[in-house]
Amino acid sequence: MAADQAETPSEYVNHHMTHLRVGHGFWTFHIDTLAMSAALAAFVAWLLWLAARRAQNDRHPTGIVAFIEFVYEWIDTEVSAIYHGNRKFLTALAVTLFTWIVTMNAMDLLPLDVPGKVAGSLGAQFWRVLPTADINGTAAMAVFVLILVIATGVRAKGVGGYLHEWIASPFGAHPLLWIPNAVLNLIELVAKPVSLAMRLFGNMFAGELIFMLIALLGLSVTRVSGSGLALIAFQVVLGSIWAVFHILIVLLQAFIFMVLPIVYISMAEEHH
């Protein structure tokens, strides 16, 4: 990093905030988001498959099987508290969401410049490791949740029943109330995935940015001196404190992104 000492804090932050892009305009693809989320999904799927394969019924579980079983049972308990029907699909959905989002969020705890150096040696100029700090990543998952909510509503009530509920609830079936009902239902339907995406994105983006600002404390050291060493020590202390707090945020936001879609899907099956 000695050659980059000339860059200003703004340039450092902007460099770390740029995605690896392909295409332009509407058809821009963030290759780093796509690659990281796909790789982490494959890793999580492999881990869960490994635990399922090693699970035996005749002896008590050990090691990775015990850990995965603990996570699965905890998530199953959470889902059973929210949804009181056949929860096979919902538990699978919840386990997928939680494990995948935890691994994606946990990428934030890697040292800040390491992924850039690794990607740079492979030829990429930018590489942002956090797929959930990209609004496209979280919005994609939220769109999928929206599709699931609509599909659940249609499956539970039929297409006609679902559309009737759009114009009949919450006020009543009188024709004059059709437009207020539809507006309210539309707002409610759109607010769910938008808030899901923005909540996860905001938390992860802010966390990543604060890591960068803490790293900038070390950038301001130009030569080894008393105040320079103090700044480096201060940076390490601050970074550790923020990393520990961020572990809580990582788990909490993944938990919220898991629980809220389950709540929305179970609400979509209710009849009014």
Binding site: S10, V13, N14, M17, E78, S195, M198, R199, F201, G202, N203, F205, A206, L209, L252, Q253, F255, I256, V259
Partner: protein, 86 residues
Amino acid sequence: MDAHTVIQGCTALAIGLIIGLGAAGACIGIGIMASKFLEAGARQPELVPMLQTKMFLAMGLIDAAFLIGVGLAMFFAYANPLLSGH
């Protein structure tokens, strides 16, 4: 003062307001929620595990708008679109 300086000054004030007011709202909200949780725990200790899960869920929801605001404020601090857009 030219427009560039004015925009930078106003953006700095805006960043402070976004983060400060957001933090005030989030902290007061979480404080009220946590106090209710402790009160309920003191009344019925057997409900504490169940309430704790719901408390964490609510805490994440309350923090959400504040952290979105922090993200936006940081974005304005480093890549201010108002400066280049004119």
